[in-house]
């Protein structure tokens, strides 16, 4: 636990001591704010569905950006060798890094709460439960995408490759729901269960079902476990 915290702190400080965190936060908030307020006044309703639709799209690009350097950079500059010879377990290393990335994504998400608060101030008939559910869902999606990105980052020592692989992986889970019509009906249910949208739309309605939580939990666990394995395997090259 202490090791996870040490890695986590170092990684988070790393984000905030470089321009990375600021560029990420500013552009994330600007982009989401623009797309949200663009349609918000057209629809003229006190709901945030527009935001909940746009954030997963923005994630496609931003989550892999946040995670691409996590492990790939260590592999590239050789510090992975130092880490591997320090008394720290591979899963502590991966988890510390992953949590730092999720924290940064959560911070970006927290800034968009400004829309929620302005809605509370000016709107009427606001479904608070659905909105908070939407935020929980977005956080889970961000955490899921970050785990895919972390895995992509663990497979290479090149950050560009880590980004592309991560973005493709994220895209697959994002698109699954939209490809359902092309899928044979026998496996459609399984494919639908794998799609992010399906679970996100459930949660966004304000219904937090264990089925959805199990989905996000097990997917995140899967990709982090794969990352840990990949870090381990480097020893056996």
């Amino acid at each position: 636990m202490r090791n996870i915290r040490t890695i986590y702190t170092k990684e988070l400080m790393g984000y905030f001591k470089s321009p990375m965190a600021y560029i990420f936060l500013v552009s994330f908030v600007l982009l989401n704010g623009y797309f949200f307020s663009n349609t918000f006044f057209l629809i003229n309703q006190s709901d945030m569905r527009a935001l909940f639709n746009i954030v997963p799209l923005v994630y496609l690009f931003f989550c892999p950006v946040v995670t691409m350097g996590l492990i790939a950079r260590e592999n590239n500059i050789g510090t992975a060798e130092l880490i591997a010879t320090l008394p720290i377990k591979d899963h502590e290393f991966v988890l510390g890094k992953y949590l730092a990335a999720v924290t940064l994504i959560a911070a970006g998400l927290a800034f968009t709460l400004v829309h929620f608060f302005s809605l509370l101030a000016v709107g009427s008939n606001i479904d608070i439960g659905a909105n908070l559910g939407g935020y929980v869902g977005l956080l889970l999606v961000g955490a899921f995408y970050a785990s895919i990105g972390t895995f992509a980052s663990s497979t290479t020592d090149n950050q560009v490759i880590a980004f592309i692989v991560g973005a493709l992986g994220v895209l697959v889970f994002y698109l699954l729901d939209k490809l359902l019509m092309f899928v044979p009906s026998t496996i459609a249910a399984a494919v639908q269960y794998l799609a992010v949208d399906y679970h996100l739309s459930n949660i966004s309605r304000g219904v937090i079902d264990t089925r959805n939580l199990i989905y996000f939990g097990s997917m995140i666990w899967l990709f982090l476990a794969l990352s840990v394995r990949t870090v381990e395997i480097r020893k056996w090259r």
Binding site: G14, G78, E81, L82, T85, L86
Partner: protein, 315 residues
């Protein structure tokens, strides 16, 4: 004590280590010498647990590196070859991070930081980003991080490569000093470095050990010939050519003529000393001797003799 037993490491098809065995005692400074690509770094990487062996065994105090990796890592301080560092961090932040990972807290943590900063002479740069430090300072930062938990064993892969002569002397003194209380294993492809610092040398070539012993033992076991440079003037072609037939046991390897002045490279066995005979011959031939300087067999020659058949450089 570290025991390396029949260690084999393959990278795909390439056999980096072909079954090497040796032991290192506590408190010993061991130098690991070899050309680039000989297998030095690979051996050290297996010893630290960074790479897993293909076959064979490395034991630290009776514990196998694969099964007891975490316990062994706690006892080892390691400075990798390229000295990778988080260059965006400040020296102090980096050492602080390493100390935390090493489980130091509270008073022990403060003391450890103070100790390595003083010992590695980092006071001047402690609040500077590592990226802005000179190579010598970076090397010392790496060394400081490796010894922050006061490990029993220090493994240093090419600790002085790329440093200027003054820095080399400083680091060498530091390593010698550390070697009084710890086991130090250092590698190098430069002989003087090793010879000046260590108690015992292991020479590795093509993934096998070709020599293992103290500096003196290695030199005496290698029977080379002594070379002598002779520069004379007022000489003639004929008298120079007659030298090897007139003085017994001397071979003329090379002759450079420049008018009346000749520079000769001579060679003779270690157990004879024909210098007086050469002088007498020169006097008889009317030469004036400008220079006569023998090269004793040096460790360098031992190294070259043992590893020269290496073929292409496998850097």
């Amino acid at each position: 004590m570290i025991r390396v037993d029949n260690l084999v490491k393959h990278y795909g098809e390439f056999e980096a280590l072909k079954g090497i065995s040796f032991e290192i005692q506590d408190g010993e400074i061991l130098g690991f010498l070899g050309a680039n690509g000989a297998g030095k770094s690979t051996t050290l990487k297996v010893m630290t647990g960074f790479l897993a062996p293909t076959a064979g065994n490395v034991e630290v105090d009776g514990m196998n590196v694969v099964d007891h990796s975490l316990e062994i890592r706690e006892q080892i301080g390691y400075l990798p070859e390229a000295n990778p560092l988080y260059t965006e961090m400040k020296v102090f932040d980096y050492l602080e991070f390493t100390a935390r990972i090493r489980g130091l807290e509270g008073k022990a943590w403060t003391q450890a930081l103070g100790r390595v900063i003083e010992r590695c002479d980092l006071t001047e740069v402690v609040h500077r980003p590592i990226a802005e430090c000179s190579k010598g300072y970076r090397q010392r930062v790496g060394l400081a991080a490796a010894m922050i938990h006061d490990p029993k064993i220090l493994i240093l892969d090419e600790p002085v490569s790329g440093l200027d002569p003054n820095q080399i002397v400083e680091i060498r003194e530091l390593i010698k000093d550390l070697g009084r209380e710890k086991m130090v294993v250092m590698s190098s492809h430069i002989l003087q470095e090793i010879a000046a610092t260590v108690d015992r040398i292991v020479i590795i070539d093509h993934g096998t050990i070709v020599a293992d012993g103290t500096t003196d033992k290695l030199m005496s076991s290698f029977q080379g010939r002594t070379q002598l440079t002779l520069e004379v003037t007022h000489a003639t072609e004929e008298t120079v050519q007659a030298l090897s037939s007139q003085v017994e046991g001397v071979d003329v390897k090379d002759t450079v003529a420049n008018g009346e002045t000749f520079t000769l490279s001579l060679e003779y066995d270690r157990d004879v000393d024909p210098r007086e005979a050469i002088f007498n011959y020169a006097k008889a031939s009317g030469w004036a001797i400008l220079e006569m300087s023998p090269f004793r067999v040096q460790l360098e020659d031992v190294f070259r003799g043992l590893t020269a058949e290496g073929g292409p450089d496998r850097a």
